[in-house]
Amino acid sequence: MKTVKSTLKPLAAAVLSGALLSTPAWAETAYVSNEKDDTLSIIDLDTMEVTATLDVGERPRGIIFNRDRTKLYICASDSDTVQIMDLKDHTIIGELPSGEDPEQFALHPDDRRLYIANEDDALVTVVDTVTFEVLAQVDVGVEPEGMAVSPDGKWALSTSETTNMVHWIDTETHELVDNTLVDQRPRHVEFNQQGDIVWVSAEIGGTVSVIDVDSRQITRKLTFNIKGIHPDKVQPVGVKLTDDGRYAFVALGPANHIAVVDAKTYEVLDYLLVGRRVWHMDFNSDQSMLLTTNGISGDVSVIDIDDMKVIKSIKVGRYPWGVRIKP
């Protein structure tokens, strides 16, 4: 009996480990904000199907998790608030004083301070997510939209669509200390993993500027050229960088393509066809997959990063805007 048991034990372990290994790497959940429907779509990334659609505030756009991914912050732009959703039961448990028309925001690494771009007021509002207090309001350029906080928490960056600038806010003093002029209508700003480089997309300019954080100067400017697509339609919006520093993905809006860029040489490697007016993106936890929100076609495209191919497009609500993936 002892022999049988000792034989079965490793066998059972092998079967169990086999079962664990065979579990899809992307058994995760994606949250997608649908701007026109005032809803969030929840996608099971194992089955690649929408499992639920939740009502939220008016015109939800930017969405972000807290550090342990137990809460989701939602910019309900037309409700002029940031809603807090408890991810255990998907209920709204609170609302933060965001200032008017919040569109994008970024959470400080302290998991407490939320930096919100108020498009209509030319302000960045800093809110304490624990006390629900407004800690500061910083004047920036006209129509701020893109928002990012550096991995070391030192800088909060905002892009203003009309002033065409990146605004550097010191998170210690909450003062605007510098501006970097970029191309027309900067929509999004993204730090690399090390926090020494920042990528800024310019929608009308059709470019992505790569900025050195120390000097706050542009070191490289990327342009995009897709065969058969008029240059006017190439309007970069969302940018995502892989943690290993290999790739940058740039959503090219009405060009309906994602540009795959070598993040070391800045060479455009490929253009991947997705749905209409591709806007923002997010990686799954092991960064083997990238999801894109396609506003006009009302779907989310799934990119397999290892194969660098679009493998599926999943119908969600009207005008999907932001996407976040929870392991």
Partner: protein, 265 residues
């Protein structure tokens, strides 16, 4: 007559088709150049023709090149099947058909074996084209190349049977060339090979119904779905039925003395 005898006979026919295929290199290259011109030149110019829509069996948005590849595979099979039927008219006029029919094997077997041999030769051309398309960046799922094999074969059988039926009705080679124009081009253009049927419907409801009734459309769709590892029962049934009906009509209607009789007079 044993199964071995039948196999020897089929082997002989297959080898003849293969030899003809190998010796007529220009035929092989023209069979490849035609779809490649469509893929490289036409598809590049018509990138926007497809519009933005996800259609089955595709899971996401595709470029026009990706869309037309199954149709171009079917085009290769169509041309090859018809060309092979043309060769039967030629054989009949030249008298070599008599040599084939001297064989003690039943005539239906000889004709169906010829259909199968022609179909197998078509497969070589199709896979040659798919390889070049793959190098051009149009890739199907890897297993799809295998799952599409029976679909290619069935469509090739269907088109060869149709070709054989038509050739059975042709008295002279000159007439056949005319029929080619009236069969191949309408069959190809009035199908889902170049444009999805919903797009055709947007333009003209009548044209849509003509396309929907065209057996070639179902052949294209059977290939398209099989290439993406999906099942299309409706297309499968229609392809099988048309193959059966065309084969029966061709075999029963085949008169080897046509043409030859005229020569002997």
């Amino acid at each position: 007559m044993t199964f071995r005898d039948l196999l020897i006979c089929f082997n002989g026919l297959l080898q003849r088709e293969l030899l003809r295929f190998i010796h007529q290199r220009s035929r092989f290259f023209s069979a490849l150049v035609r779809p490649l011109l469509w893929l490289v030149v036409f598809a590049s110019g018509f990138r926007a023709a497809l519009g933005i829509a996800i259609i089955e069996p595709y899971e996401t948005y595709i470029t026009y090149e990706v869309y037309i590849v199954p149709g171009l595979c079917a085009m290769i099979i169509l041309f090859n099947g018809m060309q092979s039927s043309l060769s039967m008219v030629y054989d009949r006029e030249m008298g070599s058909m008599r040599v084939l029919l001297i064989s003690p094997m039943p005539r239906p077997f000889l004709l169906l074996a010829k259909l199968l041999a022609t179909s197998l030769v078509s497969l070589l051309q199709v896979y040659g084209f798919l390889l070049i398309a793959w190098c051009w960046g149009v890739e199907a799922p890897l297993w799809g190349y295998l799952t599409a094999l029976p679909a290619f074969l069935m469509v090739a059988m269907m088109l060869s049977a149709i070709g054989l039926f038509i050739s059975a009705k042709i008295k002279q080679l000159e007439n056949f060339a005319g029929v080619m124009n009236f069969v191949i081009f309408p069959m190809f253009f009035l199908s889902s090979a170049l444009y999805p049927l919903w797009k055709m419907r947007e333009a003209n409801e009548w044209l849509y119904w003509v396309c929907a009734w065209n057996p070639f459309t179902h052949g294209v769709e059977l290939i398209r779905f099989a290439l993406y590892q999906q099942w299309h029962s409706e297309a499968l049934i229609i392809v099988c039925l048309v193959t059966l009906v065309a084969s029966v009509l061709a075999v029963t209607g085949f008169q080897p003395q046509q043409g030859m009789g005229k020569r002997s007079r």
